[in-house]
């Protein structure tokens, strides 16, 4: 994912990016530094910064867009609170709000459901679905929710260093792939998600 985002050089091959392609990255919650006193609104406003708007000097002009994104993510009620003071589920919704505010063509999510309870997981997955269906954004997501991921994704990429597996396939075909069955076959279909 880092290579696709241009954060790391490819070991082989090249990455081509369409000019003007807007990207957004939703990090893992653990990557956020709790020392920084960042309010929820300020965090979402960061999503509106970029090459054409580095300084965000006219903050007021972007407030409406940030608040719209917060409302869409169900996080409007805590816009004045500190990001570090929120629960994991609340914080993940704020992270999603920033991705919504970015209005990106391609959104990359790193374990967006990590450390969440089942209800919050479903909320975040619904928000991701909204990003895709209503905003028309392509979504790349790293997840351990194998069943949910395959249900929602068009294509899946299975990477497993332990078993030496790197397999890309349409989600439907992935379920029946021998490599996938070897690793996940005994989990998928019996429970809500891989355990």
């Amino acid at each position: 994912m880092r290579t696709a985002l241009g954060l790391a050089r490819p070991i082989t091959g090249t990455i081509e990016r369409r000019p003007g392609l807007r990207l957004a990255y939703v990090p893992q919650q653990s990557a956020l530094d709790a020392i920084f006193p960042i309010s929820v609104l300020d965090y979402v406003l960061m999503g509106l910064q970029g090459l054409g708007n580095v300084t965000l000097l006219r903050r007021g002009a972007h407030l409406a867009a940030a608040r719209r994104a917060l409302a869409e993510a169900g996080a409007a009620a805590f816009e004045r609170r500190q990001l570090r003071d929120l629960s994991g589920g609340q914080r993940q919704r704020v992270l999603m709000a920033r991705a919504l505010a970015t209005d990106a063509d391609l959104v990359c999510l790193d374990e967006p459901t990590n450390a969440l309870d089942a209800a919050s997981e479903q909320e975040i997955l619904a928000l991701i679905e909204r990003l895709r269906s209503r905003r028309g954004a392509a979504v790349i997501m790293v997840t351990h929710l194998v069943e949910d991921g395959l249900e929602r994704a068009d294509r899946a990429l299975l990477l497993d260093r332990d078993h030496g597996v790197a397999l890309a396939a349409p989600s439907a075909a992935m379920r029946t792939a021998p490599e996938f069955q070897h690793i996940y076959g005994r989990f998928v279909g019996r429970h809500g998600h891989a355990e």
Binding site: P27, L32, D33, P37, M46, G89, D117, H144, V146, D162
Partner: protein, 351 residues
């Protein structure tokens, strides 16, 4: 403070002689404001020893500015010594100690701009490297220039009781230019410091912004060290930011408060040192430390009050998220349940 220290006559003495001391007071206030503002980034990025390491690099630069001319032209240098202190101090504008201090400081900042993760090192360890190399270098070179050692000490830890006009001009110019740049870029620098990966993905010029931050830290520390001394410069770049962060969680106010606390520490510290006949730099640093202590006590009292309030409140069934997006089911998130969920997460990722 003893009874003699609150004698109003001495305060009036300071006021009466303001014309003599005003340059030093201005320099202290401006340096405190500049370093207080920049210090917020330094503290948040966990680089509190950056200013200390850069000051050491400046020390090495000053020592080299004395040693190199002696190395290039030993006979002329010895003749300069024989002619008197003013004759040999500045053999050429190229060997002006402040220029060497700035050059060495900027060179040191290059180490911070480089990404130490690629070397499997932290930025903190690189700061230690710069500090030790510069410190050892300054001592070794200083040993070779014993005749200028008193000049070297004066330049490195310059007495702020009286500040040279040129130093005040340099500090003023640095404050206007660097503080102006930081005011223009403060949100960009904050984004890049808080979420560097997200900033890069969104097209922010992360390397250029970090370069600006480190170069501005290097310039500010080098120029202010020359005017005020190493100790208050280190104190101004750390303590006001810590004080502001303890007093408020609103990031805009953190910058405002750190700037004001830095300026106040410089001016009030100078006044107290004059009144109580204490060393200027140490008193300015101690003033900053007292303000930080007050802020931490206040923070502790607020936390204690909040804990008591929470204990007295009846337990509530609704925890975690309260806002529900239109058309979605009601969430029931709580930190405790999320922690429980984390424990069962499998290790293998599928993308």
């Amino acid at each position: 403070m003893n009874a003699d220290a609150i004698n109003p006559a001495a305060w009036s003495e300071l006021w009466a002689n303001l014309a003599i001391f005003k340059d030093a007071i201005w320099a202290a206030g401006l340096a405190g404001a500049l370093l207080g503002f920049i210090g917020v980034h330094v503290v948040l990025r966990r680089m509190v020893f950056a200013s200390s390491a850069i000051a050491q690099a400046a020390a090495l630069g000053v020592a080299l500015s004395f040693w190199v001319p002696a190395l290039i032209d030993p006979i002329g240098h010895a003749a300069g010594h024989a002619a008197g202190p003013t004759a040999h101090l500045l053999p050429s504008p190229l060997f002006e100690p402040v220029l060497w201090a700035i050059a060495a400081s900027l060179l040191a900042t290059l180490v911070f701009i480089a990404n130490p993760v690629r070397l499997h090192l932290t930025r903190e360890s690189m700061l230690g490297f710069v500090f030790l190399v510069s410190g050892a270098g300054a001592v070794i070179v200083g040993d070779k220039i014993t005749q200028e050692s008193h000049d070297l000490a004066a330049i490195l830890f310059g007495s702020a009781v009286v500040v040279q006009t040129i130093d005040l001009y340099l500090v003023t110019a640095a404050t206007v230019v660097l503080l102006g740049g930081h005011l223009f870029l403060w949100r960009a620098l904050l984004f890049v410091g808080y979420d560097p990966m997200g900033a890069r993905v969104q097209g922010m010029p992360v390397r250029a912004l970090n370069g600006f931050l480190f170069v501005s830290v290097g310039l500010a520390v080098a120029l202010c060290t020359r005017a005020l001394g190493a100790l208050p410069v280190f104190a101004f770049s750390v303590l006001p930011a810590m004080t502001a962060l303890a007093f408020t969680s609103r990031i805009g106010w953190v910058f405002v408060l750190a700037t004001l606390v830095g300026a106040f520490s410089g001016v009030a510290g100078y006044a107290v040192s004059f009144r109580a006949e204490l060393p200027v730099g140490a008193t300015q640093s101690a003033t900053g430390a007292v303000l930080l202590t007050v802020a931490l006590l206040w923070r502790f009292a607020v936390a204690l009050r909040d804990r008591r309030r929470a204990r007295n409140q009846p337990p509530s069934m609704s925890t975690g998220s309260t806002a529900v997006p239109a058309g979605s089911s009601a969430p029931t998130t709580s930190p405790a349940s999320e922690r429980a969920s984390t424990a069962s997460a499998p290790r293998t990722d599928a993308a």
